[in-house]
Structure formats: C-alpha cells, structure tokens
C-alpha cells in the first residue's frame, strides 16, 4: 500500500495516487522524518 520510494522522500505519482504529508501534534506518535511523505491510492483515475 505504501510506496517505498515515497518513504525515502522520492515521490513519483502514478494515476490513482495522491501524495500525502503526515503531521501530528502528539509527540509520542511522531513519524521519522523520512516516513512523513508518501503516496497512497485514491481509487481515482485523473
């Protein structure tokens, strides 16, 4: 489901995907910096 390249900060979109940037104010659940941006499927064809 997650895109390995996106997890390294190198995001390359394909149809039906959207780039998301995860943020949080909860210190206990902060993601490592390299994992905050990734591509997720939307089920849409643009």
């Amino acid at each position: 489901m997650t895109d390995a390249a996106a997890q390294n900060g190198e995001v390359k979109r394909t149809g039906g995907q959207v780039q998301v940037h995860f943020v949080t104010e909860e210190k206990d659940f902060e993601l490592e910096e390299g994992k905050r941006v990734l591509l997720v499927p939307t089920g849409m064809l643009f």
Partner: protein, 450 residues
Amino acid sequence: MPDIRRYNLSQILNSQSMLDLPSPVPFDILINGTFLRTTLAEYLVSAGLSSETTLTLQYVRSSIPPTFTASFEHDDWVSAVDVLSSTSPAAAWAKAPYTSDPRILSASYDGLLRMWSPSGTVLATSVPASQGGHTAGIKAAKFLSPTSVVSAGLDRTIRVWNYTAPSAPETQGSLAPTMVLYGHTLPIDAIAVHGPSNRILSASADGTIGLWSTAKSAPAAPAELLPGAAPSAKRRKMNAAVDVAARGALSTMAAHGAPATAVVFHPDDATVAYSASLDHTCKTLDLATGAVVDARETAHALLSLCTLAPGGTGHVVAVGTAARHVTLLDPRVDARGASVMTLRGHTNKVVSLDRDPLSQYGLVSGSHDGTVRVWDVRACREGTREEGGRVGEAVFVVERESGREGEARRKVGGEGVKVFGVVADREVGIVSGGEDRRVQINAGAKVHRL
C-alpha cells in the same frame, strides 16, 4: 484500487514500516482542521483538488467511546453533579495535591447534597432544612475546594458547606453548612465558583447575576430576605434556629430581562464572566464594575454555558439552547460574525454543558432528550441552507442506562430520563444526573476502533 478512508490511513500509520507501535493505536485524520469522514477521493472532488495536490494529513489519537460504568440511585431527580479528582479544578486550586480517591457530588430536588465514592457508597449527606440545609430543591452544586462545596436552588439561597470525610470505613462523613448567602428574589438556576478568590457567581430567575464571596467579611445579608422575615414561611422559621453565618452579595448585576440560566467565569480572568438567559442573550460582565460590556443576541432562549479553547488560542463560548442545539460564539469578533458553529443532534433542550478535559476541541452536553453528547468541534460540515454556517455533529451519544429498562418511555423526547446536569472529568469520566433519579458514570473504555 481501494478507496482510502480514515481507517486505512490509521492502518498505514500503525504498520511495521511506519510507527511500528507495540499495540495498535487508532487515529483520526484531520485535513484543514476538519475530520476526514469520506474517502480521500471524495475529499479531493469535494474540495476541487487534483491528484497533483499534496494533502497535509494531521493524525490524532481517536477518542474512546465512553461506556457505562456505574449509576447511583437517589430518592428524587438529580439536578446537578460535580467531581473532585486529582485533575479537577477544585484540586488544581488546592494548596496541596489531591491524592485521595475521586469524589462525586450530586444535588437533588429532595433538597439534599450527597457525596459519593466512585463505587457508589454515600460518604456524606447534607443536613436537612431544620439543621441549616436547603428548604427546597437544589439546582446547582460545585466543589470550591476538596473540603468545601457550594450549592444553590429553589429556596433562592446559596449555601457553602464544609465536607468532612468519613473517619473510618463504614462510617459517615458530614456536609455541614458554614454560610448562607441571601440576595436573589427568585430561584437560582446555576452557579460558578473560583477557588483562588473564593468567589461565587449565581444566575437567577430574577434576571440578575450575583457575585459573592465566602469570606466572613462579605457584606451583610439583606434583612428582608432573611429567614423569619416572611411570617408565613414555616420552613424558613425552622432554618432561623440554626446558627449559620448569613451574608449578602458583593454585587448583583441586572444583566438580563428574563430569567438568567447560566453563568461561568472567564477561563483566564476571574474578573470577567459570561452569562446566558431566556432573553436570548449571552452577555460579558465586568465583575469589577458590574457592567455589561458585551451582549450577543441569538435566536433562541439560552439554557446552559461553557467555554473552550480550540487550538489553544483564545476561547469560544458555547451556549445550549431551547431549540435543541449548541451554538459556539466567539467573543473576540464583532457581534454580527459571532456565531462560529452550531452543534446539532439533540432532540430536546440542551440544559447542561461542560468542556471535555481530554481535548481542547471537545465538550459534553446534557439534554432533556435523555442523552449526553460528546462533541469535537473538528467534526463538522457545511450546513444545509436551512442550517446555515458550519455544523458540528456529535462524536458519541451516551444514553441513560435506566432508559434501556423502559424503551417506550424514552421515545417521547426523553420523558422520564431527562438529563439535568453533566460534568466531564479526566480521571472519572462523564458524570450525569437526571430525571431517572440517578447519577450515571460513563468512562472511556479500552476499545480500539482499528
């Protein structure tokens, strides 16, 4: 490809390659400050965005559904409740940390206050009218400190009580009156307390807001309102025989043209208060001068009031209405743009409000529809043409357990199970009281939505 929803994003965050938590934690997702309730694709379409957009998704721990944990039966309707715990306001105001077990205070139409343990043991009951207690039903009660309680009600008085805990298991503690405050000419519907200054606010059906002090140096009580002043008042005569200090108001503010129903201190400045009334207005009061410094006119009679600070910057005033909804007002903006959001879902009057101590975005409401609703102001949508503005919807609905025993009764707008008072405490949970003559406790259970 699947449509991505909150649940899927929460799963992604919990995966081994992401947060890799020892046990799953459900997350809610916020986009532009509002909870994602649709698929990502639906969101992109509704927001007019293309897939070229980068969406910033804020993830927050999901709220836990409050589940029933206990209820305590009374002889009459329960009008108000309050909680003393290590995290409650009265404990925060105390000089020493409060480390004892939580205590639950209930006020009843039978004219008595009761102090409960979380397991449902009555630790103390207030004295009856003949020994200085209320001479009619009580409508409001609050902890001023771990050993001091304030109450007010239909007998037009405010009473300050000293609570002494039981000295040994299986024995009773005491709730003894230390002061009676006179000044209102009609019943008192609501009170607010501020521990550091020992000040009390009251909202009365006489349309005034009273400011009081528990200090012995407080002004003398008006002679015409003291027990015995009305020769026919038999119960007042009974009360006169008890030696309890009587005092009057520091000031009485004629703030409303109809019964005042609710009052709270400003969350950051105890020299300012907000009041609500059946006259449709929410007013800001300068307690130093007694002046009304701001008035917000709404379309409906107002019945309850609390403040919350979503986002931690400034605060908004939430007012519960006779029109079955809660309106959020921003006192910082001019009156025309004051309504921030309307919380809809109750099917009868909203008579009690409290902020959710677990979330700066949350509040709880009690209604005559027989439910307590938990709200998060980030759970909202654009209103329909009839609704207008932003509309919030309840995150959780807590029903009366007693209502489950009589489904037929519950169908008529909460008849038989009306909620009269609710308070939310970080340690104890959501405590409510009502027409079913019970205090009910609901607490967040260890339930994961994943």
